[in-house]
Subunit: 319 residues, 2 copies
């Protein structure tokens, strides 16, 4: 188990450290990249040697940030995991650097404590909130560059202040970052307006396959393996559309059925709070949370749909 640190103790460790390696999680998102880059700029500004390491390439959309990537320019003397909830999330490509983590800065309540020390705040909407507080405690000048990095983490992890993890503190920190010069207009444009051509192609197929059942209380979209391959959609594109059917006005159960390369059907079920998605999926050999669950079905599409809709009908009758 990790030694639990507060902001002041974590800061004191960082200020004593030299040759600091800041490590992101694999499949990097805006929070792990933005938080690590903010720390990189702050620490180098304090005269430290630091760099950022990630097992996967940084997505092009975050190209506006100077991330200070590690290229072997120093031998790491102190390792900091940033927004990494578990060791399996580092990625094998950087295993040589992740055997012993000195400090973990994270906001995932599920973090099991794999690092020697941990600065964890499960109530923070993003790790960027914790990093902001750390830098403020250090008296670091929040430059426009650092503000851009932290705004990236804060806004991407909250869906631009829309998700249920958003709090008053999230907005307070956003206000401070904007006042410090975050490029709000440019960043919101890149992060929340731009959609890839493959994402639009998969949305088009999803909308074409959209079927309503039970008087509009259930909506289902269906994608074949050939369609998914044609669009060039990646996992993020596909995950992004699973919320589409449930977000239609009047819909209580939204279902996404996607054919897997081997032919089986992967089913995602999203529901309103009154309907139990986990129960629908449990009857079909799957499981999950009350409002987001899944299962995998074999056989013909018609049989799969029919089995699903039978369970949906039972769940809707209970409501």
């Amino acid at each position: 188990m990790s030694e639990i640190l507060d902001i002041a103790a974590a800061l004191s460790r960082l200020l004593k450290a030299e040759n600091i390696l800041l490590i992101c999680h694999k499949n990097p998102d805006g929070d792990t990249v933005g938080s690590a880059a903010a720390l990189y700029h702050a620490l180098t500004g304090l005269g430290k040697t630091a760099a950022v390491l990630c097992a996967d390439p940084i997505p092009a959309r975050y190209g506006y940030m100077d991330i200070g990537l590690y290229t072997g320019q120093f031998t790491p003397g102190y390792t900091v995991a940033v927004d990494v909830a578990g060791i399996q999330l580092f990625g094998d490509a950087i295993a040589a650097y992740t055997k012993n983590i000195d400090l973990c800065i994270d906001h995932h309540p599920s973090n099991a404590g794999y690092a020697d020390c941990m600065l964890l705040d499960g109530d923070a909407a993003a790790t960027a909130e914790i990093v902001y507080e750390l830098l403020s405690a250090a008296g670091v000048d929040i430059t426009p560059t650092i503000a851009d990095c932290l705004y990236t983490g804060l806004s991407t992890d909250t869906g631009c202040f829309r998700f249920s993890n958003t709090t008053a503190r999230t907005h307070e920190i956003a206000a401070k970052l904007i006042a410090a010069g975050a490029s709000l207009i440019q960043l919101n444009g890149i992060l929340f307006e731009s959609k890839s051509r493959s994402r639009l192609a998969i949305e088009r197929l999803a909308l074409e396959s959209l079927e309503y059942s039970f008087g509009g209380r259930c909506a289902t979209i269906f994608l074949t393996k050939e369609q998914i391959a044609q669009t060039g959609a990646d996992t993020t594109d596909i995950e992004g559309i699973t919320s589409l059917p449930r977000n239609i006005e009047g819909v209580q159960v939204g279902i996404t059925i996607r054919q897997q390369p081997a032919g089986s059907y992967k089913v995602s079920v999203r529901t309103v709070p009154e309907v139990d998605a986990a129960e629908i999926c449990a009857h079909l050999g799957g499981g999950g949370h009350r409002q987001a669950a899944g299962c995998e079905l074999l056989g013909s599409l018609d049989n799969a749909k029919s089995a699903l809709l039978t369970e949906v009908e039972k769940a809707l009758c209970k409501e």
Copy 2:
């Protein structure tokens, strides 16, 4: 011209007034409804008689707010226009009440000053920001009910803190409203996740008609009058999709062509900052702003498209 008031002066007028009629603009949005409803709750809490009037029905999605609609229960003694930029926006149905407006509270810099007095702040992202400051100056307790109304105005006018009008102050006020008990999760769900079936139907048609030109630098969508009629899409649904083609990764000019009931083509052009939309449209008899302009074309669709793409090519070559 209106007498310009500051917060304190506007407050003093309101506190002296009796039987206050709060008037929204027609085609009401979240800011006019939320700001007027917040004032209604605050003024009645101060022992005043007040009610809210609007020429059009309040959209069902705002049904979570108790809006205190005017049903002739008192003779108005003081009229307040809330978020109404010009007299043409009141709507004929309530003309009997809008001949003389005592006070206008607004954030539109274009407001010409039709009211006797005006509390105008063109830097506010929403009229709800101004109302928040007015109620704070009055020492009004921001109840969860008032917080819900003001959060509605603030979040809808900024696209949930995404649009370029969002400022540090917008986030500061959002933080205060959340701390005061605004139902963040419920409201964001209703306002920013739910889409109408007609909106999805028009998005589907738009995506089906999507064409790329000039190596993906231009994207065009096209809707016939029959398609628009079939989907049941209203003006808001259609306006909502004009940003779709421009928001595709790599697209610099996004064009939406919609056939009008009489057969002509209404064209919306949206561009990145480097390309002048107004110039493209000026060559075709239209006009507008640098990044958002429009024109109307007659004749066949092929001719209209060809004329448009010729101008787009010229504009792209300049870049």
